[in-house]
């Protein structure tokens, strides 16, 4: 399968620096719409940095700078005049550590919509129900939406975080090792919901191990020390890696 004609995100020669440490080197990558892209690689390979550079959660300031371009639907997200808050609503993020805000389940999910001005209880309620269903959490919490989200289990909290991102009605969802602290059953539930979600969203995930990249990804990109080594469909990358470093990593010879 060739690259789709209309990639959702195009990354062009991206270089990313923390102080003088270069985290990404001349990285170019196209991320097609409605697929799950798995960015994988050993620790410090730049996967998290790449993910965060897609919604500017690392905003360039004194400590961080970058060169190159990231295009979302052909528009540069680093161009002057781009609204960061709007960008972040379009490109939602789920973090490695499940982090519900210290609010009720309902208020956690309503947080994003409320920020953009939605107030009516009925429409918020609808969003809460729909997103919780999409995140495969509704049945477990429908009777206690007003209890604190802090009381949920880790796996439930992470699905809540996914629902909370979905409530923004994003176009792209970024996930940074969303299952790293979770048990296999919770992991399975989250991966199941991701597979359903890709029909409506573009999903970019940093999986927490190679197996997960193979399980959930449609496409996979292998990064090493901030450089893109190879990229392709999961079947290609895993069954016929072009680069020896990729095959070494996948088969567990290093990393």
């Amino acid at each position: 399968m060739a690259l789709t004609q209309n990639p959702k995100i195009v990354i062009k020669k991206l270089n990313f620096f923390y102080h003088n440490n270069q985290a990404l080197k001349d990285l170019s990558l196209e991320i097609p719409a409605n697929e799950i892209m798995a960015l994988f690689g050993p620790a410090n390979s730049g996967t998290t940095t790449l993910l965060r550079s897609l919604n500017r959660l690392y905003d360039p300031n004194a400590k961080v700078h970058l060169t190159g371009e990231v295009l979302l639907d052909g528009q540069s997200i680093y161009a002057p005049g781009v609204s960061i808050t709007e960008l972040r609503r379009k490109v939602g993020m789920v973090f490695e550590v499940p982090t519900p805000l210290p609010l009720s389940i309902f208020d956690n999910i309503a947080y994003g919509p409320r920020l953009s001005g939605l107030k009516t209880k009925a429409s918020l309620g609808e969003i809460v129900e729909n997103t919780l269903k999409m995140a495969v959490l509704w049945d477990e919490v429908k009777d206690r939406l007003n209890t604190s989200a802090m009381r949920l289990s880790g796996g439930q909290q992470q699905r809540l975080c996914i629902a909370r991102v979905l409530a923004l009605e994003p176009e792209v969802i970024l996930l940074d090792r969303p299952c790293s602290g979770l048990d296999p059953i919770s992991t399975a539930k989250i991966e199941e919901s991701l597979r359903q979600l890709r029909e409506r969203f573009t999903v970019v995930i940093v999986p927490h191990n190679v197996q997960e990249a193979g399980r959930v990804g449609d496409r996979a990109a292998f990064l090493l020390m901030g450089t893109l080594i190879e990229e392709g469909t999961v079947a290609d990358v895993f069954a016929h890696p072009k680069d020896k470093r990729t095959s070494d990593y996948i088969t567990g010879r290093f990393g």
Binding site: G92, Y111, V165
Partner: protein, 265 residues
């Protein structure tokens, strides 16, 4: 064992002070004591004007110092990087916290009472007390804000929140118990202060009718009653009422904060 006995000693000491004052003062507290203004220099009548004066001075101080203190603390923690300016602000605040209250009184007297022509008044007293409790509020708020998990900020930003929205919706609610601790400590200092208040709010016995009226707070009242030997009974009565007032403020503030925080736990 040592720690245990130290703790016991402290508790016994505190309780016996409170018990002593209450046992001496409570018999004086009658309906008349609470609802009449003092007559004959405080030998008879009640202390209503002092109760009102205390509440007014404290209210002015809190209304002035809370937004300023909370604002400063948020500026220091969220809106700026560590720099020489933040060091100067923090150093000033800490120095302010260590100054004896009579110095604040003198400052308030010269600046508010004389220079700004506010006279001995509730307003002068309240402003002086506001300046005095500012460092406490800055300090406790800053610590509370720093204790909010950094991930909360990232989550809020990642959901499209601006810095301002994040502060209003996540940081202030999470830091509320700490902020309220600072405010309660501030209230305690206002209610208990004598030296600075005599110099700025005066010691008039009549009922304050506006922010520009002079007044005599409860602490000042019982200081004068006791020092000038006017009436020890009534001094104890006033002291007992002061203790009860502080207890009530603490309990009410605790209930309010707990009710607020419980929603998120």
């Amino acid at each position: 064992m040592v720690i245990w006995s130290a703790a016991t000693l402290v508790i016994v000491l505190l309780l016996s002070i409170i018990f002593y004052i209450l046992s001496k003062g409570l018999p004086t507290i009658t309906w008349q004591f609470l609802t009449e203004i003092p007559s004959d220099m405080g030998r008879s009548g009640g202390i209503l004007s002092s109760i009102v004066g205390t509440l007014l001075v404290t209210a002015v101080a809190i209304v002035i110092a809370t937004p300023l203190g909370v604002g400063t603390a948020f500026y220091l923690t969220e809106y700026t990087h560590e720099s020489n300016i933040t060091k100067i602000i923090r150093f000033s605040a800490e120095s302010l916290a260590g100054i004896p209250s009579i110095v604040y009184g003198l400052f308030g007297f010269i600046f508010f009472v004389i220079y700004l022509h506010l006279g001995w008044s509730v307003l002068s007293g309240g402003l002086t007390m506001g300046v005095m409790i500012l460092p406490t509020i800055i300090r406790t708020t800053e610590e509370a804000v720093r204790a909010v998990p950094p991930m909360y900020r990232e989550v809020s930003f990642s959901l499209g929140g601006t810095k301002w929205q994040t502060m209003l919706k996540v940081l202030i609610p999470s830091a509320l118990p700490g902020i309220s601790t600072g405010v309660i400590l501030g209230i305690g200092r206002c209610v208990a202060e004598t030296a600075a208040v005599i110099l700025t709010a005066g010691s008039a016995l009549r009922m304050p009718t506006s922010l520009f009226s002079p007044t005599r707070t409860m602490a000042v009242h019982f200081y004068i009653l006791a020092r000038e030997g006017i009436s020890m009974e009534r001094a104890y009565g006033t002291a007992a009422l002061l203790i009860i007032l502080i207890l009530v403020i603490n309990i009410v503030a605790n209930i309010l904060v707990n009710r607020f925080v419980a929603k998120g736990r």
